[in-house]
Symmetry: C3
Subunit: 132 residues, 3 copies
């Protein structure tokens, strides 16, 4: 099963919790055991799994990535968004979560986040579910 | 097939070689061709694949991650372990290795490591094997 | 289906676009819907997905990784290539792309890159395709 999530981002950097929407797609698929794959078909965005309880974690992640890969840093890429490309590589553009009894096997504190690094833009996440 | 590894960590940062235990689960599964997925259901830990010959590599990885993401750095997250969340995102909470003839297709020098970034804690790694 | 790509690198750091070769393997497999997995069985190399239009992006990625993880940095690993091991962990040694209608579901600007961090060397990428 293959589905798309559409995400419209409003800021340059933004982490959007997509956990509930992904679970909804698994519910529709009726798959009880398998793997849920998430794939971001963009070069200045990513997807990661981390804490979804305290919003300060997102803030710390954003600030630390900005320190490691500053927006301005004598990059050659003429579009001016080289930092977003590099963050996309460090965070990654795909991830997966096993499915058990029809549920994402996320830990208690885990959520799935779409990561925008060069917004605002219209984005997609490909959700693919394989039974097994 | 779905199994759990239990890992009890003793230090704040620790990389535990889980290669043999993962291979043992594949042996039990009797799967000859497929994919072995590893998933860490925690937000301050991760899993990675790298050299398991010279223990100095682990030391260098640990020290470099600590320089890039210092434990103290004016984080907002009140629990005090923001650095561990960020390292978890950079290293990643899941990975996979193809299986051929019942064996993990690891390179000569590769091992699979569970990465603790906020120990000591009791941890789990979900091992999921899919044939194909 | 399982195949190998052979890559001979000429420089210490080099990012090689392998997208066309991966698509060719999918064409041969005749798989229309599924997942294409790429796995690097090396500890000083990786694989990532990012822009393949402007070569300056590769340059900026290479320079930024070098700044974050300098080649010389008082590492303990006696072989002298600790930086390459750490970059391999940050970038990752595996990735996947969903397949639809026999094609990699890459975004418009995305390509798949093999990342050499300790060349020149003879390298392999394992390509595994699972239908579903």
């Amino acid at each position: 099963m293959l589905r798309y999530l559409e995400i419209i981002t409003q800021k340059r950097t933004h982490f959007e919790d997509i956990t509930e929407e992904v679970q909804k797609i698994i519910d529709e698929s009726n798959v009880k055991e398998g793997i849920c794959y998430m794939y971001v078909p963009h070069t200045t965005a990513g997807v990661f799994i981390n804490e979804n309880a305290d919003p300060d974690v997102k803030w710390d992640v954003e600030q630390t990535l900005e320190k490691l890969v500053p927006w301005e840093n004598n990059y050659k890429h003429i579009e001016g968004n080289a930092a977003a490309h590099i963050k996309s590589i460090l965070v990654g553009t795909n991830t997966f979560v096993p499915i058990k009894d029809g549920k994402l096997m996320l830990g208690t504190w885990q959520g799935i986040f779409f990561a925008e690094f060069d917004g605002p833009r219209d984005r997609k996440v490909i959700i693919k579910i394989i039974e097994g």
